[in-house]
């Protein structure tokens, strides 16, 4: 199936001379939820704004459902809904009017029942006659979603949909997003909450300094890049790590009370991989510890989250512009 959005060689240089995007290539699959992660100023909003027609690209092409966003903007924009990062709304309009306005703006015939359904789905129905300025931030965000859905788009862009939204409402938002995906809408969202990407995305793209440094299926990403860390609380203070434990990358805390062992989950959890490599075997490590007379009274284990993967990747891309993970190479090969 051809991608629903296809971005090729996209560059953006703002009037100030600042290059916000460098040679972006990205395909978005129909029906997926893709999360774009990246630090502040990475270029997420710029990328979305160009696809939606708010910002002009400096070069490159974007094809939406087979149509060019430049030459056939009516077709492409009609298929897209956008929930912007900033909570902007016309303070004096009622919820009903502002959503109706959006539908009209996108060239759809009036249809009160569609709008009613959208408002009900977003639990906004009882607020329909309220003025925008009387709504709370979370409610305003919902209205912006309602506006973006008013013309029944096939593709929905959500620029930090859950920024400043409490846990309850965030979970609610995730439900809304999942429901939309189930109804066939392709969803592109940006977020700073890694757990959000972990929770709802099918694929994850990481942007840093205007470049896409990685695009990968979420599950693969977590599995391949995931690390596990075991921390042992030692019974007795240890001064140095015994020599015959050197093969394990152990780390001793400063007070000599904690010993941590970090390993890649792919080499340890899957028994078939490196099965006979003793360095990957926790059981042998523990045997060796006791044979060295090192005893512990507590164990703490931690699976590295997407957050750590993310921080690591971004840090790498900053210190070494040639950095490219093997997964990234793989993704690129797949794309070619």
């Amino acid at each position: 199936m051809p991608p629903v959005v296809s971005i090729s060689n996209l560059n953006k240089i703002y009037d100030s001379g600042f290059q916000a995007l460098s040679n972006i290539n990205l395909d978005i699959n129909r029906g997926e939820i893709i999360a774009l992660l990246g630090p502040n100023g990475a270029g997420k909003t710029t990328l979305i704004s160009i696809i939606c027609g708010i910002v002009n690209a400096s070069s490159g092409a974007i094809i939406v459902d087979g149509f060019d966003t430049q030459t056939e903007y009516r077709k492409t924009r009609g298929k897209i809904g956008l929930v912007p990062q900033e909570l902007t709304s016309d303070a004096f309009s009622t919820v009903w009017n502002t959503v109706t306005f959006s539908r009209g703006l996108f060239g759809k015939e009036p249809n009160p029942s569609v709008i009613e359904k959208i408002l009900r789905d977003l639990s906004l129905w009882d607020k329909k006659d309220n003025m925008m300025m009387t709504l709370s931030g979370g409610m305003k965000r919902r209205v912006l979603i309602a506006k973006a859905l008013s013309h029944e788009p096939e593709i929905l862009f959500l620029d930090e949909p859950t920024a400043g939204v409490d846990v309850e409402l965030r979970k609610d938002m995730w439900r809304v997003i999942n429901r939309l995906r189930d109804s066939g809408v392709t969803i592109i969202l940006t977020t700073h909450y890694i757990e959000e990407a972990e929770e709802i995305a099918d694929r994850i793209g990481i942007i840093s300094n205007g470049e896409i440094i990685l695009v990968e299926e979420k599950d693969i990403l977590i599995k391949q890049l995931g690390k596990k860390c075991i921390t042992l609380k030692l019974q007795n203070k240890l001064d140095a790590i015994p020599e015959d434990l050197n093969q394990y990358e152990l780390e001793l805390s400063q007070d000599g009370r904690e010993l941590s062992y970090t390993f890649n989950t792919t080499t340890t959890i899957t028994p078939s991989v490196n099965n006979n490599d003793p360095s990957s075997n926790i059981a042998t490590l523990i045997d060796k510890l006791s044979s060295n007379n090192i005893h512990f009274n507590d164990i703490d284990t931690k699976q590295s989250s997407l957050e750590e993967i993310f921080v690591e990747l971004v840090a790498n891309s900053k210190t070494n512009s040639n950095y490219m993970s093997k997964h990234q190479k793989k993704t690129l090969q797949e794309q070619q």
């Binding site: 708010i54 924009r77 956008l82 015939e109």
Partner: protein, 253 residues
């Protein structure tokens, strides 16, 4: 053509008018009445007639022009400036609408509102002084053309302005003086001949003169020239708007 979009923008802008009824409709009525009290009664009692027209009646076309110009510019400039300022413009920019449709929506609404204000002022004026409209069609022509042209100008200002100060700059520093010096309250024939020639560089003179002709059949400049100039201003304003969108100036970064 995305007619639903034009209608949506137009309806939205008109809703703003009704919401700010006091400011948009009552204010012009009050200021017009004040002009009549000050100019019509206080000064008018000392000036009998100009070109055979009682002073109070003589100033009606000029007063109307003053309101039409300031209202058109204010409405249209604010209409497009405010979404830019508040950020809601994102929606218009991301919608499947052409620049022409955007202009039709915003400028159409500003024009309608000015027309409405014009009619209300005319009716108010009728309460103070005897009115007569010698050439109703010409009157309508000048009325509508002026509203459209200056709404376009307001739209240009609204796009150009990136702060509230710039929004006020041209109306208060350029347009209002031009209207006052353009023969709203006097006939330019009353000026020394040197100043009469200088005044002809003031575009508003042609509008006021033509407009007054449509009421009383007397004009400072030939009405044909007034009509030609009016059309020229409309074309000029349309051209500038077209250029703005061609270059994406200030709307899309």
């Amino acid at each position: 053509m995305n007619y639903y979009a034009i209608k949506a923008i137009y309806t939205f802008e008109m809703a703003r008018t009704w919401r700010t009824l006091l400011q948009s409709i009552v204010a012009p009525i009050i200021s017009t009445s004040l002009y009549f009290i000050v100019f019509g009664s206080a000064i008018g009692s000392r000036i009998d007639e100009i070109d055979g027209i009682p002073y109070g009646s003589f100033i009606v076309p000029g007063l109307l022009m003053l309101s039409l110009l300031t209202q058109s510019i204010a409405n249209a400039s604010f209409g497009i400036f405010f979404p830019k300022f508040s950020g809601t413009i994102y929606e218009v920019l991301s919608a499947p609408v052409s620049s022409r449709e955007i202009v039709l929506g915003y400028v159409g609404a500003a024009t309608s509102k000015s027309l409405l204000v014009g009619i209300i002022i005319l009716a108010t004026a009728g309460l103070f002084v005897p009115l007569q409209i010698a050439h109703p069609l010409a009157m309508l022509f000048f009325l509508v053309m002026t509203c459209i042209t200056f709404s376009l100008l307001g739209f240009i200002i609204g796009i150009w302005a990136d702060n509230f100060e710039k929004l006020q700059l041209i109306p208060s520093l350029v347009v209002t003086p031009l209207v006052f010096l353009g023969g709203s309250f006097y006939s330019i024939n009353m000026l020394p001949s040197f100043w009469q020639s200088v005044t002809l560089f003031n575009p508003v003179v042609y509008l006021i003169s033509g407009f007054r002709w449509s009421f009383y059949g007397v004009a400072d400049v030939n009405v044909g020239i007034s009509i030609a100039m009016t059309l020229f201003f409309l074309c000029l304003a349309s051209f500038i708007v077209w250029r703005i969108f061609k270059t994406g100036y200030q709307l899309r970064k």
